[in-house]
């Protein structure tokens, strides 16, 4: 019992310790070799800038998060619905799946200027970019999950002459839920990538905009603060989805 508790504490503290270790070494090396600020600032300088500009960072991160979240919602709602349609119609799957793959293989960076042209400089072009990049994992995972039904379970449903809706609602959908959640988790980071790429191409607010502007002005400290802010919204977004997943899917043994 006691050893287990000690283990728990070690597990909890070890990433914190390694974080400080890495940051410490970074700080030391930058100072020891007098690396110029515009190449690699010290962690302490970044921390000072981060806390000084927390208000503006929060605003821009909020904008990026909102774009990513809307894109995430649209992509996953459409992705899940399309997957459901695919599973129930082979013809539909065969005729549309190649386009989904084509969409996946086209880099979002290549399409971003077009999206700006179509949806303007505002939020919608970023939402579209976030949605486009998240759509494919959503559809692929959901299709996989919906098809991952045990044959004997299907036989069981058929033997009591269950209709398609029963099979979907009581068997296919719950079976697919763990897959859908892994798509949602992948989408969280992808949607943020999409939103930032959209902001790079044309925006006047958002984390991508801040990164771009600070690179023009060679304000590397500011850039680092923005990168950290982008990472943080990604982590929080992922964490919230994982939290909801753990609440809903209690029956699988997922590793921590």
């Amino acid at each position: 019992m006691a050893t287990q508790q000690i283990k728990k504490i070690i597990n909890w503290f070890s990433p914190i310790i390694s974080f400080f270790l890495i940051v410490g070494v970074w700080e030391f090396l930058v100072r020891a070799f007098s690396v110029p600020q515009y190449l690699l600032p010290t962690p302490s300088a970044i921390a000072v800038d981060f806390s000084n500009s927390i208000g503006s960072l929060l605003f821009h991160a909020g904008v990026t998060f909102w774009e990513a979240f809307l894109g995430f919602l649209i992509a996953n709602v459409l992705g899940i619905l399309t997957a459901v349609a695919f599973v129930h119609s082979k013809t539909l799957e065969k005729s549309l799946y190649p386009f989904a793959i084509a969409l996946k293989t086209t880099p979002i960076v290549a399409m971003a200027p077009l999206l700006i042209l179509w949806f303007g400089n505002g939020i919608f072009s970023k939402v579209a970019a976030a949605a486009l990049i998240s759509f494919f994992p959503s559809i692929v995972n959901t299709v996989k999950g919906l098809k991952n039904v045990d044959i004997e379970a299907l036989d069981l449903f058929k033997s009591i002459s269950a209709n398609k809706w029963h099979i979907f609602s009581k068997l296919r959908f719950p079976t697919a839920l763990p897959y859908i959640f892994s798509a949602l988790k992948i989408s969280t980071s992808l949607a943020i990538v999409g939103a930032i790429v959209g902001e790079f191409v044309g925006a006047n607010k958002g984390i991508g905009f801040v990164i771009l502007i600070s690179s023009y002005h060679l304000e590397i400290v500011k850039m680092f603060s923005a990168i950290i802010a982008a990472a943080l919204i990604g982590i929080i977004f992922f964490w919230v989805v994982s939290f909801i997943e753990k609440r809903i899917i209690f029956w699988t043994d997922t590793e921590d």
Binding site: D150, D155, L156, K158, S159, A162, K170, I249, W251
Partner: protein
Amino acid sequence: MSFIDVQNIKHSFNSLNVLNDISLRIKEGEFVSVIGPSGCGKTTLLKILGGLLPPSHGNITIKDSSLDIAIKRRDFGFVFQNPVLLPWRTVLQNIELPLEIIGDQTPFAESEKLLELLGLKGFGKYYPKALSGGMKQRVAIARALVFNPDILLMDEPFGALDELTRERLNLELLKIWEQTHKTIIFITHSISEAVFLSNRVIVLSERPAKIDEIKEIDLPFPRTIAVKQSKEYFQYITWLRNKLKKS
């Protein structure tokens, strides 16, 4: 009139002949086991009997009506090799799944009685992952019984269980059969299990399977463990074993 009438069933998957002209009559309330070499098509036969697989050729009537009508009537309760419990449902919710699909609001006491009948009392709120293999298969049997079908189709239900659990579940299945008067078609690999449980044992040949032998098991009911020490019991087993070797 026979309860289940199987006429000249043939079945093939693509060009592979699996069942070759199977005809069979089963009386109401009978316990019939099907044994045969592995891969001979026992499961295929059971799926065809239960309407899960349309046969390539032949005809089946259940209580004088076609298979389609029998399925709509929910004549069949299936128990598979795996318990196939839905992990997001509790034991009780798993048992009541067929009722939700059929839309039959059988009073709650019915499922409680089933829990008791299958030795699952107090486990209703458990999730499947907390149960042992034997317990899971009990839940599967309860789920097959809950909507009160006339016929139980069981595909090696105890094949994955250890010997002692299997023996206990055999006894309990006999008890349930005596109480509910279901007609049971039971597929097994085990000759002794078939002899112990059945009124009749059907021996299938190698693929493409046909009926090699139908053996009446004339051991007294209710059967207890003591039956397993009787001379007749051993004679049946020896006889069937020789039959299976030859085929």
